[in-house]
Symmetry: D2
Subunit: 136 residues, 4 copies
């Protein structure tokens, strides 16, 4: 499975009194990862949303090995772990870019739902692109 | 003008590497202040929203005297500075509760708009309650 | 194991365009849960920190059943799942207070470390209080 | 005065239920602006911090003209409005990059302080670089 990468620069607002990124903020970085993966695939989250399909997070996990610090340039690497009929899982690895040290690893599972929150099949446009990716 | 008060406990997630509340987060505290003022007035923000009236912030200012720190219990005091035809201004003072030391002071100006973002008159229910307050 | 409860009122700043709490922000609520558990135990996080002992999160997980919405009053319930020599795990359940509907469930695992990030034994004051709790 | 520019991509986590960036989050964008201005000047915030000099915000203001929306690519433009003996002011303009529409405009005033919070003269390295900039 192909890996998609995007960068992020840590600001003071991301950090806590221990001079490291506050743990909740890694989940913002995960969002950046999956957003850019979709954009690279040629279909943006906004386009999916315009089909009235939404991808709320149903489950998430993260393991923290080393701390990201103020002003670090991070590399967020994202892959698609699976695509099922009505759900998708993204896996993330966050590195300190310069040293390639792995800081954090995690995943998010998402349901495909409509505006009323009812579970839907993944739209064909999404499914096709993701399958193409998996077969690569 | 009557003052409305609400409390907030600072968490690590609010603080930055200097062991104080990150400046952007005071604007979250301001939101808590105006929300509870409206609730105390007997009309919630959610009810205003249900009339298809929204109050985006058009302007905000804050002056920081002393820092709020981790685990501080804050007292957020809010007053209505003015109500015009289509706008409202809230003034805020944030104290460290135990010592009554003033930490921050600021304001937000809001327009009344509809779902399309077009400026609207303040709803009568809101105007009446606020005027009652000003005349008190 | 005794459960500790604390409340939190959702603001606009916690929510995303789908009118629900953004998934990363539940981890802030988890922090509120463990902070108040410690305070109820009679030993605050700040006191632990004053012993030069810190509790960075090494792992976290969350499952989202139903969405918390704007202006919801949440009940955050926290228990201690285990205390090992140098680590502790907290379990969280977040309910919509009025209806007692379970929205989210998750955990955080923390290491005990010193200022340099070296793993330490849990301080006796903490271990004693937690053991008292487990034996209750 | 030269203008420094940096970009930022809006995520769901930045937005509120009205599908626009939550007002507090613009102050994070301001931080990105001044950080990259300093980096472009050849002296990073981290280097200033290593001289035991810190720049807490003493005052901030923002005016919101139009809303930044999900997935917008923003252009943050920063200038130095003044450098006094012990304080500095940055001015910011935030544009939607593609259309060059001005969304937000604001400023932050910072004191130069030491680790104990006592006001200090601006470090010579900083003052020299900023003066060079003003005379350009």
């Amino acid at each position: 499975m192909k890996t998609f990468a995007t960068e992020y620069r840590v600001i003071y607002g991301d950090c806590d009194p221990f001079d490291v990124v506050y743990y909740a903020n890694y989940f913002d970085f995960f969002e950046r990862g999956r957003t850019e993966l979709f954009r690279d695939l040629g279909i943006t989250y906004r386009q999916v949303q315009d089909m009235d399909i939404f991808l709320p997070v149903s489950e998430t996990y993260s393991k923290f090995y080393k701390s990201a610090r103020y002003d670090d340039l991070l590399q967020i690497e994202t892959t698609i772990a699976f695509l099922k009929k009505a759900s998708i899982r993204f896996d993330y690895k966050i590195f300190k870019k310069q040293t390639r040290v792995l800081l954090t690893e995690g995943y998010t599972v998402h349901a495909f739902v409509n505006r009323e929150g009812k579970v839907q099949r993944a739209p064909e446009e999404v499914a096709d692109k993701v399958k193409g990716l998996i077969e690569e």
